[in-house]
């Protein structure tokens, strides 16, 4: 029998969400809570180990470097330029660090304020309520920064994670140097919260929090699935979206089950939500090519895959005449937004600043300067001789304006296991950022130097990571179809029942970890998506 005659299995729902990462979890939680609609979630990857196994998995990671998330990726689904292979129920946020700053109001209007980059089609003020919803949903503990830098309508859902002994000392150092810093907001519980216990500072937030004090999307999916508020199809890869022949509505998502690769499933729904992350969302739209849409869906203006965005960082380790005890909580930091506002009259540079305890330069060693081996007491004495001062780790993400051809394309040379072209990602700075790169990195290194000097310390070393962190974009939002793939609610300009949510819709990557913003955007989309369905009782 030829393949054409094999009947496709059809699964119907009101809302079909593609992907089960943190953005999808936000959308599903909100829609399931507020609307009467059947929701199907399609996830390419596998279910992950349950909480009962996390302590043991953490131990194996600490002992051997083994992954606490086995099978969190899909064989054959990789691509040049991706940041992480994670494709699983919960996505990358199963092993994220849980650091949740907001973007600054300036991020949404760099063009009008600073004359560079692009204005978003929405303002910080419009996103603000959704920031709070996201913080409440994932349980964020945070400290209110100075209001002019850190505007908020509501207090954080939980009080801040207290500063560790080390951060308390480091705070005094940076304050004395003229920088106002506070406890980094994090999706970690500073007190019991919605069934989760308080953080116990065992410091393995990345890659696994053994006690669920850190938010991970399973905390949303498990109850939704148990109560059958969503039906999740795992190990199922959506290959393309089908557009209705007479209208521009999406009628189906065609998927393949990894266990039955020969048989396709057609997911039909009233509304489709692409929540497949910064790489696979654009890939899916591009791969949904047809005679009517030869460049893929939602791609009338040729913008799908363009404007991939993120931020680079400059980092330094500073030797300071302080007494710190590295190991209390290396993952928590101080943060400031002081440098996220461009000073008048200066070149465009916006960056954050974070400070951590660090053990760099304080490690034991097996040989002394002369190359003589050190064992036993000699090793201990040598180690102690290097503990008289301490190390601070400082790092700034700086804002990069993405080029149009900072892009994801279909890679003709590399195929997925189902024969589709794999994505290929190449991040590129716009000429403004390219020209400013040296200035930006030198200025940040200069700041680190001044901090070191203020504390009578010295820089041990500095580095710049070449990749762009917290990747986003590829389906950016715009004021109209000439500037974006989707509108400010994530609705595709070309297909009224197609939404792209979270990271892919971001216009720029700011200079702070992006996931809280991706979640706030996703929740704003969910509000719009929900309008097509009756309110839950």
């Amino acid at each position: 029998m030829s393949r054409a005659f094999i009947a496709r299995r059809v699964v119907e729902s009101d809302i079909c969400i593609i992907g089960s990462g943190i953005s999808a979890a936000m959308v599903a939680a909100q829609l399931a809570g507020e609307r009467r609609a059947s929701i199907i979630v399609i996830e390419a990857g596998d279910d992950q180990p349950q909480v009962k196994d996390w302590a043991a998995n953490r131990k194996r990671w600490m002992d051997y470097g083994s992954t606490p998330w086995p099978n969190d990726h899909v064989e054959g689904l990789d691509a040049n330029g991706i940041q992480s292979r994670s494709m699983c129920v919960g996505g990358m946020a199963m092993h994220w660090g849980g650091v949740t700053p907001r973007f600054a109001p300036e991020d949404f209007k760099t063009k009008s304020l600073c004359g560079v980059g692009y204005d978003w089609p929405l303002s910080y003020e419009e996103l603000e309520p959704h920031y709070y919803e996201a913080e409440a949903l994932m349980g964020v503990s945070g400290e209110q920064g100075p209001r002019e830098m850190d505007p908020r309508a509501n207090p954080f859902p939980m009080p801040p994670l207290p500063l560790t002994y080390n951060l308390g000392i480091l705070k005094k150092w940076v304050n004395d140097a003229g920088v106002s810093m506070w406890s980094q907001p994090s999706a970690k519980t500073s007190q019991p919260y919605h069934g989760r216990g308080a953080c116990c500072r065992n410091d393995t937030c990345f890659p696994i929090c053994p006690v669920s004090a850190k938010y991970s999307p399973d905390q949303t999916w498990n109850p939704l699935r148990a109560k059958k508020q969503v039906v999740m199809h795992t190990r199922t890869v959506v290959r393309r979206l089908i557009v209705d022949e007479r209208s521009n509505r999406i009628v189906a998502a065609v998927a393949v089950e990894r266990d039955r690769p020969g048989q396709e499933i057609e997911f039909r729904a009233k509304t489709f939500v692409v929540a497949a992350g910064y790489a696979w969302s654009a890939h899916l739209l591009l791969n949904s090519r047809s005679a009517r849409f030869p460049n893929g869906v939602a791609n009338r203006a040729g913008l799908v895959g363009k404007y991939l965005t993120g931020h680079r960082n400059v980092q330094a380790f500073i030797d300071l005449p302080l007494t710190l005890y590295p190991g209390i909580n290396e993952q928590h930091s101080l943060v400031t937004k002081q440098f996220m506002r461009k000073p008048l009259g200066e070149k465009y540079l916006r960056h954050d600043l974070r400070v951590w305890e660090s053990a760099v330069g304080r490690e034991p060693r097996l040989k002394d300067e002369s190359g003589k081996p050190l064992l036993g007491d000699a090793l201990l004495a040598d180690w102690r001789s290097r503990l008289k001062t301490s190390t601070a780790r400082v790092r700034s993400y700086y804002d990069i304006i993405p080029a149009r051809d900072s892009e994801l394309t279909l890679d003709a040379a590399k195929k997925t296991p189902w024969g589709d072209p794999a994505p290929h990602l190449a991040f590129k700075d716009d000429s403004v950022s390219r020209d400013l790169r040296g200035y930006s990195e030198d200025s940040i290194r200069g700041l680190f130097g001044r901090l070191a000097q203020a504390g009578n310390g010295k820089i041990i070393r500095t580095s710049v990571d070449n990749f762009q962190d917290h990747p986003a974009g590829g389906c950016r939002m715009g004021a109209d179809a000439s500037t974006g793939v989707v509108d400010s609610h994530g609705r595709a300009f070309d297909h009224e029942n197609l939404f792209v949510v979270g990271a892919p819709t971001a216009v720029s990557g700011s200079c702070a970890n992006g996931t809280l913003t991706f979640c706030a955007l996703a929740l704003r989309s969910a509000e719009e998506i929900g309008k097509a369905f009756p309110a839950a009782k």
Binding site: M62, S66, R201, G376
Partner: protein, 210 residues
């Protein structure tokens, strides 16, 4: 992404080619090290303890030296070949643990014992020789292997004595000892306690007795 790169650095040492880490092959199954016959014979606590007391600081006390030997022995026994490693940030590569070092290490322990017997006029076993003599034998053995000043991950250590030492140095006990404070890295603590200066390590580390 705070710890990410630090952990990445630590474990990228583990993923380097020198460590014979395998690129993941489809369907690869993790295999316990203990499956290798005879490999663990020289890697039990009685065999490792006389090495531990050479390479670990005496200030640690006999009890904790023994604990370090027990934990290292357990670490080897629980090593699994072909186990998937945490995939690093910024890379699409998936890799797995390489072959167990147990056979090589067992051979090195046996060599220490044999060389001790050969050198001693009374042919006393390694374990029964003085700390000074044992130290000389270990130093001799280490002179024939290449290693850098930087502490490797245990699996990357070129000699079992260095592996044991590296395993200990990666433990909270080691950091506590160096700072003489109960920092207790990576262990649960009440949140508020983390704001206080860690308390001084109890003097009587010896055997954990106060």
């Amino acid at each position: 992404m705070n710890l990410t790169r630090r952990v990445f650095v630590r474990w990228s040492a583990l993923t380097s080619a020198a460590l014979a880490v395998a690129r993941r092959s489809v369907g690869a199954q993790a295999k316990p090290a203990a499956q290798q016959p005879g490999a663990l014979k020289w890697l039990d606590v009685p065999s490792l303890l006389p090495i531990a007391s050479v390479v670990l600081p005496a200030e640690l006390g006999a009890g904790r030296v023994e604990r370090a030997a027990i934990e290292f022995s357990r670490w080897i026994a629980n090593y699994r070949e072909g186990e998937e490693l945490l995939h690093p940030y910024g890379s699409e590569q998936i890799s797995t643990t390489g072959p167990s070092p147990a056979t090589k290490w067992a051979e090195q322990v046996r060599a220490l014992h044999e060389s001790a017997v050969a050198k001693d006029p009374q042919r006393k076993p390694f374990a029964n020789q003085t700390l000074r003599d044992r130290t000389a034998i270990v130093a001799d053995a280490l002179a024939s292997v290449q290693f850098a000043a930087r502490v490797p991950s245990p699996i990357a250590a070129p000699h079992v004595a260095l592996a044991l030492l590296a395993h200990f140095l990666d433990s909270p006990d080691a950091t506590n000892l160096a700072y003489n404070k109960e920092i207790n890295a990576k262990q649960c603590r009440p949140l508020a306690d983390s704001s206080k200066e860690p308390v001084t390590l109890r003097k009587a580390l010896n055997g954990g007795r106060a």
